[in-house]
Structure formats: structure tokens, C-alpha cells
């Protein structure tokens, strides 16, 4: 055997096998997806194989987190090309924390879907699409090349197009058209901005860009590129004023698919904003971009909270809450201090877990009630006390009650806002949390607490017949997500330690750059 070595292009140092951990969050789901696609005749085995693949992914991901915790950021450039030319994968805290959270969430979704997807949906590729979506999301979190980020965006978008129309009802196609159209516009803007960036600097490697751009004045073409990225990623993240596609489409697919999207997809947009405006384009941190992010964040929080208060459909209510939660992250990014960024990453982890759990709870309610309309929905706590208890815990988490997980990042964001004298942001955080509590409290009081209404009784009788043998198993993922969120809330210091390290690396990307380019360049 012989390794091809064209002269002058190759790296001399051998790659230790442990560095391959950086690939596990992408390669294991990819191989699992390929196996699942090949086994389209034996869809009965799909959940088992997906479960094994996802468990291996989580193991790899955890090991990777341990590796960067002990030895600092890790990079690998594919095909042994010298970094700015080859495509690099870089594992830093931000990326690895988020990809670990994403893998865990997808595992929960896969478990929930065992009792929720029929043979037809599995033959149409529910599990393979789930795995390729994870490939795309994890790839986005770990790639160190901005064009490659675009490719991973495409990978998870195409998977999400397939998932959103699973079921094939006209209403789903209507939601899918809005979703696809807006996302395609955002992706095109992303691509145009990346084209400009390459035209100006001649490189797309994030570390290389960071090295070249840091210290450059924020003017001319850099402003254009930043504005385009801001627009494209805000659209993806469903931030004000470009959020309207999300409540218009997220209530149409299967509930388990809504839960998956709500947990992961908007967060990839926020991740891209975090990465772009700190590591890749450092001059943007002292510019009007941060103010734009602040006002977009304030707008998202206000619109999300007000929208949630008036909705009667449980899933639409959660969709607006999701828009509001994006606002918190954008305000966190706009403050651009170490503590604020740490709180933002913390909030992202919290939001992924809690949003997914909220939608899955809605799925369970729908299974037993056949309706998510708060005008009819009633008496859930009588039949399903345990589910109601979990929902109550999620209400407290999502609205930021101490000592639940939403409280700590909000507290940190408020204290940081005070420090940099950003009073509007602080006031909106408090106002929006209060309104979220009203919206969710209303959902709990109407749907769960009040006695069963007469007009809802026939629905209940009808639905009880549909309980399947996997009904009990579906509690497990919701329970696991709630327990994880509670643990984060009770013991926030562990996660805060990691996210603070992540924030440090965003504000001072030197170790990140050195991991990719080596000390020499």
C-alpha cells in the first residue's frame, strides 16, 4: 500500500487515529442512512438500526467533546490537502456541544417515531431522512469551510423537504411550499454572499478568513457580505422580520417532524450567525450588525410572545414561542461579551431540548385527544396526570422559572445587558418571558387543567381506540428530554463551564485558527 504524495501539497505529520473522532458525528449517521436506504424491504428493522447508529454517534460525539476538553480544538483537512485548499473539519466547543445535543435529540425523535410512523411512512424513508438530516446538521456544526457549510445546509434542507411532506395531505404541501420557497431564497443569498467572499479574499476556509479579515476596517465590500449573511441566516433562524414562514409551515407536518424541525433547524441558522459574526468576520462585532441583531432579537421576542398569547392551536403557539426563543439568542449574540455568548450557547442547548419536548408532548396529547385546539382540548390532567406534570415542568422551563434551565441564561443575559447599558434588550427579555408564561399557562389551564368539556367527549372515545402497543414507549423520549433539561437547570455550572470555553474561543479564535492552519501559517 502506498499513500499518494504529490510534492509540496501534503502535510508531513501523520494523523493519529484519535483525530478521527471528529468525523464520527457525520460519518456514522451517513453510513446508517445508507444502510437504511438499502433495506427498504425490511422497514421493521429500521428503528433498531437507527437506534444503534445514533447511539454510536452519541458515543463518538461525547468522546470528541472529551478530546477537545482535554487537548483543545481539533481539526482535520480532508484528503490530506494543505488547509486553505482542502476542506477542513474543526471541532470547537460551540460546534461539538451543539452536535452532541442534536444527536441526542434525534435519538429521542427516533424512539418516539417507533410508535408514530406506519409502514408506509417508513417505506417512504422516514428513518433514512432522519439520519441524513442529522448528517447535514452535524456537518454544519463541525465544518471549517464556509462553502462546505452551504453544502451541509443543502443536505439537511433536502432531507427536511422529504420529511415535511411525509403523509402527502394538501395542507402539508401548502406548508411545504412556503417552507421550501423561503429557505431556497435564504440559501441563494447565502451562496451569493459566499461567492463575494471568495471573490474578495480568495479563500473559503473559516480559519484562514478569520486570520485575513481580523483587524480589517469594516467598510466597502465587507459590509455587503456581512449584510447578506445577516439576511440569509436570520431568515433561516426565523428571526424578526423574516419569521413568518415558520408559524405558517411548522404546524402542518407530522408532529414528530415538527418537533425535529423546531429543535434543530432554526438553531443551525443561529449557529451560522454566531460563527460568521465572531470567528469569520471579527470586524462585524463593533459595527451596526450588532445593533441590527439586537433589534431583530427584540422584534422576535415581542412578536413571538404576542403571537403565542393569541394562538389557539397548540402547535402554532409553540411555533411562535420558538420565534421568541430565537430572539433571546440574537440579543445574546448582539451583546458580544464572553458571558453573553456563553449564555447564548447555553440557551441554544436548553431551547433544542425544551422545544423538542414541547412538540412531542403535543404529539402525545394529539394521540389521546385527536385535537390540539385549545377551544376543545380539555381535561388532559384527569386522564394523563404524568404527561400533564411533564408539560407543567416544560412550561416552567420554557418561560424561565428558577431553578429550571431557561432561567440561568436569561439571568446572565439580563446582567450582561445591564453591564453594557442595553436596556431595551433587557426590558424585552423580561417582558417576553412574562408573556410566554401567560401563553403557556393558558395552554396548561385550558388544555390540561379544566374538566373535560362535553363537546370533546366523542373525540376522546374515538381516540382511545387508536392506542397502539408502543403508546407507553413514546413517554420515554419526552421523559428523557425533560430529565435532561431539569438536570441542566439544577446543575447549570457544568454546562456553563463548557459554554464559557466555547464563548472564549469565539471571541479569541486564535487556538481555532492554529488548530486548522498550524503554527506555521
Amino acid at each position: 500500500m502506498d499513500v499518494s504524495t504529490p510534492e509540496g501539497v501534503m502535510l508531513a505529520a501523520p494523523t493519529p487515529a484519535i483525530d478521527w473522532l471528529i468525523l464520527t458525528p457525520v460519518i456514522i449517521p451517513l453510513i446508517t442512512a445508507a444502510l437504511l436506504i438499502m433495506m427498504r424491504r425490511t422497514v421493521v428493522l429500521h428503528p433498531l438500526i437507527a437506534f444503534l447508529g445514533l447511539s454510536a454517534t452519541i458515543a463518538g460525539n461525547s468522546a470528541l467533546l472529551w478530546r477537545i476538553y482535554t487537548e483543545g480544538p481539533l481539526a482535520m483537512t480532508m484528503g490530506n490537502w494543505y488547509p486553505p485548499f482542502g476542506i477542513s473539519f474543526v471541532a470547537d466547543y460551540l460546534g461539538v456541544i451543539l452536535s452532541l445535543t442534536a444527536s441526542v435529540t434525534v435519538l429521542m425523535i427516533a424512539l418516539y417515531a417507533i410508535g408514530d410512523s406506519n409502514g408506509r411512512e417508513r417505506r417512504f424513508g422516514f428513518y433514512p431522512l432522519l439520519m441524513t438530516l442529522l448528517v447535514g446538521v452535524n456537518g454544519s456544526f463541525l465544518t471549517g469551510d464556509i462553502f462546505n457549510l452551504y453544502v451541509w445546509f443543502e443536505v439537511f434542507l433536502i432531507s427536511s423537504f422529504g420529511l415535511i411532506i411525509l403523509g402527502g395531505q394538501p395542507r402539508q404541501l401548502d406548508g411545504a411550499v412556503k417552507y421550501c420557497f423561503l429557505n431556497l431564497i435564504a440559501t441563494t443569498l447565502f451562496l451569493i454572499a459566499t461567492g463575494y467572499l471568495y471573490g474578495i479574499y480568495g479563500t473559503l476556509n473559516m480559519a484562514d478568513l478569520s486570520r485575513i479579515i481580523s483587524g480589517a476596517p469594516f467598510e466597502g465590500s465587507l459590509v455587503v457580505v456581512s449584510a447578506l449573511y445577516l439576511l440569509a441566516f436570520s431568515m433561516k433562524a426565523a428571526a424578526f422580520p423574516l419569521f413568518f414562514w415558520l408559524p405558517a409551515s411548522y404546524h402542518t407536518p407530522k408532529i414528530v417532524v415538527s418537533a425535529l424541525f423546531a429543535g434543530l433547524l432554526t438553531k443551525v441558522g443561529v449557529y451560522a450567525l454566531l460563527r460568521t459574526f465572531t470567528v469569520i468576520l471579527p470586524p462585524a462585532m463593533d459595527s451596526w450588525i450588532m445593533e441590527a441583531l439586537l433589534y431583530a432579537g427584540i422584534g422576535s421576542m415581542v412578536v413571538g410572545a404576542l403571537g403565542a398569547v393569541v394562538q389557539t392551536d397548540l402547535r402554532r403557539l409553540f411555533s411562535f414561542l420558538l420565534v421568541g426563543s430565537i430572539g433571546f439568542m440574537m440579543v445574546g449574540l448582539s451583546l458580544a461579551t464572553e458571558k453573553a455568548l456563553a449564555a447564548t450557547i447555553f440557551y441554544m442547548v436548553h431551547s433544542i431540548l425544551v422545544m423538542t419536548a414541547l412538540f412531542l408532548t403535543a404529539g402525545l396529547v394529539d394521540r389521546y385527544r385527536g385535537s390540539l385546539d385549545l377551544r376543545v382540548l380539555s381535561g388532559v390532567s384527569g386522564d394523563l396526570p404524568f404527561l400533564s406534570l411533564m408539560f407543567l415542568a416544560l412550561v416552567f422551563m420554557a418561560s424561565g422559572f428558577p431553578p429550571f434551565s431557561g432561567f440561568w441564561p436569561k439571568l446572565a443575559l439580563i446582567s450582561e445587558s445591564l453591564k453594557v447599558a442595553s436596556y431595551w434588550g433587557m426590558a424585552t427579555i423580561i417582558f417576553s418571558s412574562f408573556l410566554s408564561l401567560i401563553a403557556l399557562g393558558r395552554a396548561f389551564a385550558f388544555g390540561f387543567w379544566r374538566p373535560l368539556l362535553d363537546e370533546a367527549k366523542p373525540l376522546v372515545e374515538d381516540q382511545n381506540l387508536k392506542r397502539t402497543k408502543f403508546g407507553k414507549l413514546q413517554y420515554l423520549p419526552v421523559m428523557a428530554l425533560v430529565i435532561m433539561a431539569i438536570l441542566i437547570g439544577i446543575l447549570p455550572s457544568y454546562l456553563f463551564e463548557l459554554t464559557t470555553l466555547g464563548a472564549k474561543l469565539l471571541l479569541n479564535p486564535e487556538p481555532y485558527v492554529n488548530a486548522v492552519l498550524g503554527g506555521a501559517s
Partner: protein, 138 residues
């Protein structure tokens, strides 16, 4: 579309096109060609066969479901990056074998070749699947 002339020539033409697509696939490393373009040629061959003789014969001829073929291609492409682990170089680095078939004939095998075969299978599988779905509706 199903005329006597087309039905007579289609099987021959299809086999020639598939052979040519494999030639394009294998020459792709050093010359113009490769898995993607080769896959397109093979997919158009199966599409032509479908137009001439119907969708059923195509499905029987390729035996596996086209989507499964695409899945196998994806697996092959993903796995072709792994042998470089043994060599201590990053993922997807080209690794070569030169097995000697006789004293003078040497075969050049490499991981890029298997990657390209994977791409070929993905393109064939997904495009044949689309083409057959479109032809079935008519």
C-alpha cells in the same frame, strides 16, 4: 413511442450505453469522465429501455430497487474514505494498491476509484428511480 424499430434496437443500444458508461467511469481518474457523468449515461440507457419496452422489464433487469442501488452507492462512497485511517492520514486521502496479476501486468486499484463507483451507483439509482416513476404515470 414504442415502435418496432425502437423496440428492436433498444436492448442493444442499452447494453452498449451501459458498457460505455463503465468505460467513462473507469477512465475518469486521469481523463475526462468519472462517476457522475458515467452514471448519467447509464441512467439514460435505462430510461431509453424503459421508453421502448416498458417499466416492468427495466425493474426486472436491474433486479434491485433503484433507491437501494443509490443507498449502496452512498455506503461505498462513505466507506472508501476509511482505508486512509490505517495509513495515518486524514479521511478520504487516496490510498493505492498495485496487485500484480502476472509478471508484466499490474493493476492500479485505489480508494478514489471506489468513491467514483459509489457516485456512479448513486447517480444511476436516483435518476433511474425518477425516470421510472415518470414513465410509469404515462
Amino acid at each position: 413511442m414504442s415502435t418496432l424499430i425502437l423496440r428492436t434496437i433498444a436492448p442493444t443500444l442499452t447494453s452498449l450505453m451501459v458498457i460505455y458508461s463503465i468505460v467513462v467511469l473507469l477512465s475518469g481518474h486521469n481523463e475526462p469522465g468519472g462517476g457522475f457523468i458515467g452514471g448519467l449515461i447509464a441512467a439514460s440507457a435505462f430510461a431509453l429501455y424503459g421508453i421502448a419496452c416498458g417499466v416492468g422489464p427495466v425493474r426486472r433487469a436491474i433486479y434491485f430497487h433503484p433507491i437501494s442501488i443509490a443507498g449502496f452507492g452512498m455506503l461505498l462512497a462513505a466507506l472508501s474514505g476509511l482505508p486512509s485511517l490505517m495509513e495515518g492520514v486524514p479521511y478520504l486521502t487516496g490510498v493505492w494498491w498495485f496487485p500484480k496479476l502476472s509478471k508484466t501486468v499490474e493493476l492500479a486499484l485505489s480508494t478514489p476509484l471506489f468513491f467514483d463507483i459509489g457516485v456512479w451507483l448513486v447517480v444511476v439509482g436516483s435518476l433511474v428511480s425518477i425516470a421510472l416513476a415518470l414513465e410509469e404515470k404515462d
